[in-house]
Each structure stands twice: as structure tokens, then as C-alpha cells.
């Protein structure tokens, strides 16, 4: 990029930064790019390694309980003699899928509520936005506790309850953006040329909102994984023997003396993946920001 000095002595960028693709912009942010690599790598490990790993997460190994590191069991065995590495991999699958599924549900609700409220206005807007504000006023874990108590703790319910308590932020972002974009000439032109409201919303307004949705989605996965681990701690998450990083951590508490690694590993795994999604979300926000000319 060639820089030209302007009248005030400050450099002016001459080539348009918009020409850089999203990946190139993301690559400039080392932390976000590293996070993306880590996320991809972790998914590959968690979903592919179990195909070739010899130990089953529920089967008891011959070397007994609380075995320490060895070549065949790199992280040893747990309180029942199960291979910790195999459980971490399978727990990772459940945790990552719960995060992903909760994010998708949350985005669907949030985009639907925000876009419909912003685009159609009037009484629909009033009802939907009051509902959004009411949901935001209930402290999250109170609602999650109540909902999981009466609805049960199957994986589907855990996903739906997490989604149902995290869509409000997305709805507000999409609502604000929709309000802004529906005033633009190209949208008015589409309406004037006879396109149906649904078509205008889907073809002209929502694509403008996509960058905000991508950022929100990334941060939403991070939040969902943390929530899953917190409700597991309270005993209301996905129940054992299905391993998740959250319930492995909860279970490991009792063995904090005899086997501290049991609690350390899933905790580190949760922290790292949530950290990576948060860094990636921040990086995407900068990369997608049209004001950012760096």
C-alpha cells in the first residue's frame, strides 16, 4: 500500500482498504488468526482422533483407577479407571456441539425477533421489544435454573434453555441495524418497485446485517460453552455418563486432592476454547468494521 502525504503532513492511504478480503484482514490481527487456527485444530482433534484412539470413554482400562501419565494413557485414568484422554475428546465433542447448537438456535430467535421488530414496526415492534427487555431483566442463571428444573436436563433442553436466555443481545443488535438500513434509498427503491416486504427484508436488509450477526455468533458460542459448564457445576447440565467438559470438571471436584489433573484439564480446555472464540469475535468485529481502515 502506497502512502501519500496530505496537506496537513499526515499520510493518506490511497489504495482502498475494502479490497482486502475478510481473511486477509483477519490475518493482519495475529491473535484472532491464531485463535481461528486453534479452533479449527481443536475441532479436528476432538472429532477425528476418537476414530483411531484405541480407548473407549466409558470402558474401564486394565491399569486401574487414577493411573498417572503413560504412553498408552497420556492423561492417565479417572476415578473409575476410564481413559481421561478419551473422555476429554468425547466430552469436547458434546461441549462443542452444545455450544454450536445453542448459538444457532440463539441466532435464529435473535435475528427473527430483531429483524421483524425493526422492519415491520408498529405494535409488533412494541410487543417484541418489550419481551426482549423483559428477558434481559431476568438474571440469566435464575431463569436457566428455573427452566431446567421444570423442563429436565436432556441435551436438547440444555441447548434450548441456553439459547432462550442468550438471544436478546443479538435481537437488539439486529433490531438497531434493521432500523438503520430500512431508511436507505436502495431499500426504498426495492419497496417502490413492488418487491414484497418479506423479499425486501431477506434480500436487501438482512445481508447488510450479516457482519454484526457473524460477530455476535462467534461471541455467542463462547458464552454458551461457559453457561453449559456453569449449569453442569450446579448439577443441572447434561448428566453423566455422557461426558462434557462441564460435568467432568464438576465430577473432578471431589478428587481435587487425589487427582488434581482431573479437574485441571477440562478447566483449561474450556478456558482455551472460550478464549479463542472471544479473540476471534473481537478480531472479526475489527475486520468487519467499515470504519477500520488499518
Amino acid at each position: 500500500m502506497e502512502n501519500v502525504t496530505g496537506l496537513n503532513g499526515r499520510p493518506i492511504a490511497v489504495s482502498a482498504p475494502a479490497k482486502l478480503s475478510l481473511m486477509q484482514r483477519l490475518y493482519q490481527n495475529k491473535l484472532a488468526f491464531l485463535s481461528l487456527c486453534f479452533i479449527v485444530l481443536l475441532h479436528l482433534v476432538v472429532f477425528l482422533v476418537p476414530l483411531v484412539w484405541p480407548h473407549h470413554p466409558d470402558r474401564i482400562a486394565e491399569i486401574g483407577i487414577h493411573a498417572s501419565w503413560s504412553l498408552t494413557h497420556p492423561f492417565g485414568t479417572d476415578e473409575l479407571g476410564r481413559d481421561v484422554f478419551a473422555r476429554l475428546l468425547h466430552g469436547g465433542q458434546v461441549t462443542l456441539l452444545v455450544g454450536l447448537a445453542a448459538m444457532i438456535c440463539s441466532i435464529i430467535i435473535g435475528v427473527l425477533v430483531g429483524a421483524v421488530a425493526g422492519f415491520f414496526g408498529k405494535s409488533i415492534e412494541a410487543v417484541l421489544m418489550r419481551f426482549t427487555e423483559a428477558m434481559m431483566a431476568i438474571p440469566n442463571y435464575f431463569f436457566v435454573l428455573v427452566a431446567l428444573t421444570v423442563l429436565g436436563t436432556s441435551p436438547t433442553m440444555v441447548i434450548l434453555v441456553i439459547a432462550f436466555t442468550t438471544w436478546m443481545e443479538i435481537a437488539r443488535v439486529v433490531y438497531g441495524e434493521t432500523l438503520k438500513w430500512k431508511e436507505y434509498e436502495f431499500v426504498e427503491a426495492a419497496i417502490a418497485s413492488g418487491a414484497t416486504k418479506m423479499r425486501v427484508l431477506l434480500r436487501y436488509v438482512l445481508p447488510q446485517v450479516t457482519p454484526s450477526i457473524i460477530v455476535a455468533a462467534t461471541l455467542c458460542i463462547a458464552g454458551a460453552i461457559l453457561t453449559e459448564s456453569a449449569i453442569s457445576y450446579l448439577g443441572l447440565g447434561i448428566q453423566p455418563p455422557t461426558p462434557t467438559w462441564g460435568n467432568m470438571l464438576q465430577n473432578a471436584q471431589q478428587y481435587i486432592w487425589t487427582a488434581p489433573m482431573l479437574g485441571f484439564l477440562p478447566g483449561i480446555a474450556i478456558t482455551l476454547i472460550v478464549l479463542a472464540y472471544n479473540f476471534l469475535g473481537d478480531g472479526l468485529r475489527d475486520a468487519l468494521d467499515p470504519k477500520n481502515t488499518k
Binding site: 418489550r130 423483559a134 431476568i138 435464575f142 435454573l145 428455573v146 428444573t149 421444570v150
Partner: protein
Amino acid sequence: MLRFLLNRAGQSVILLFIVTVITFFLINLAPGGPSGVMRMDASESERQAMIERYGLDDPVVVRYGEWIFNAVQGDFGTSFSSNQPVVERVLERIPYTIELSLFTLALAISIGIVLGVISAIKRGTIADYSINFISVIGLSVPAFWLALMLIQWFSIQLGWLPSSGVGARGENFDLLNWLSHLLLPVLILSTTILPNIVRFTRSSMLEVISQQYIRTVRAKGAGERTVIYVHALRNALIPVITMIGVLIPRLLSGAVITEAIFGWPGIGTLILEAAQSRDYPLVMGVTVIITSVVILSNLIVDLVYSKIDPRVKNIS
């Protein structure tokens, strides 16, 4: 001013009404709802007695009508598990949560503002990046895991701090003992809101520094310190007040986890006990009362904000 106040108060009442509808119908329509509330070991006659006593065979809408009619008069029913009025049980517990929350807010806001301001005025330096990095770590660590690590280190290995409880109260009250019981819970609860305060202060500060009037102050020849501390900081901190409104639900939500770990007898452990014993009038009462606290504090924040920044009134 009065119109603004009435308008906002009216909105708050509507919000609270919607919250009661969502919670009541969730509890009562779910498969594990009131019919499952009665303990499994109850005999058929006990079951009948409970159905009659709590009107469980009326339609949900009728029961909601009765509930809201009593609730507006301050009667949230009787707890299933202890036969005490729900309000009484909540009032027993709520001072502990307020104590924990106030200490946490004070700590998190003071540290958060300092770090946020440093981050903004040292923008792009190693200090800025480190503060941002640590903030994101704070957002990403599961609070209970961090708590367990701290308990293991400070309470078990070093034996410096108690691992749970609130310490001696009443006659045996001892300042040092009290503070030592508060320290770990306050630290843990702070991590749930501190990163947000840091980031919000930073962006608010950067926003103000880029304003025209700051450029004018600079052009006038004021020193960097005067620019930052006299002119920029005061205006940058005003929006931080609105942040408190957003933080309070987060704080109370985090209190559920923190109180559970440290055996803190506040409203967070009360909702856990209520949920575990399926004490549904208590669950309903706690949720509605805690949400009223959130809505009321948001109302107060809005009023304070409109007093400090008169531009707000014109917008709403």
C-alpha cells in the same frame, strides 16, 4: 422531569408484568411443573390435600390471576418446603446478596475505571494490549473453576482464607474475620463484571478524546494531564453510569454460582435450594422479586443519568 419519570416508571411496571407472565407460564405449563412439584413419596390423600390447598386443579390462567392479585399486595404465597411466607424467606437472604454485590461493584468499578482509562490513554502500547488480553481471559475462565483453584491455593494449601461461609455475625462480630470471608467471593464475582467495565470505559474514553472540544482544549495549549483528567475523564465517565444498569443482572446471575461455591446464604443459594426442592411458589417469588430489583435499579440509573446529562431527557 415528572413526565420522564412517570413514563419510565410505567415502562418498568409493564416489564415486570411481562416477566411474571413468562415465569408463571413456564413453571406451570412445563411437564415438570406444579403437578410434579409434590414429593414422590406423598400418598394419594396428601396429594389431594395439596391440590386443594394450592388450587392446582384450576386452569392456569385462573391461578395466574390469583397469584398476581396477591402479589401486587405483597403476598407471594407460602413456601412448600418450609411453610414460611415466600417474602419472609427472601428478606432473610437478600441482605447477604446486597452485601456481596455492593463490595463487588465498588471493587470492580474502581479497578475497572482505572484500567480502562490507562488502556485508552496508552492506546496501542504494550500496556493497552496486556489489559485487553487479561480482560478477555477474565471473560473466558469459568468462574467456579477459578474459585476452586483459589480455594485450593489460599484456603487449603496456605490456610490464609476461609473457604466458605459468612463468618461470625452479631455479638461475635470481628472485622478481620468478616473481611476474610468476603475476600474470595468478592474477587470471583468481580471477574464476571470487571472485563466489561474495563472495555466500556476504554471505548467511552477513546470516544471523548476524539471529540472536537478536546482538540480545542489541546489547541489552547493545555498540558496532556489537564486534557485527560480535567476535560476528558469527567465526560467519559458519564456513560459508565449506564453500564451499571447492564451489570446488575449479570452480577446477580454470577451471584448464583459464587454463592453456591462459597456457601454464601444469599438469594443465589435460595433459588438453588428452591429449584432442587421444587418449591415452586418460592422459585416464582424469588425470580420475580430479584427481577424487580434489577428493573428498579435500572430505573434509578436512568434517573441519575438524566440528572447528570440533560441531553438524555430530550431523546426519550
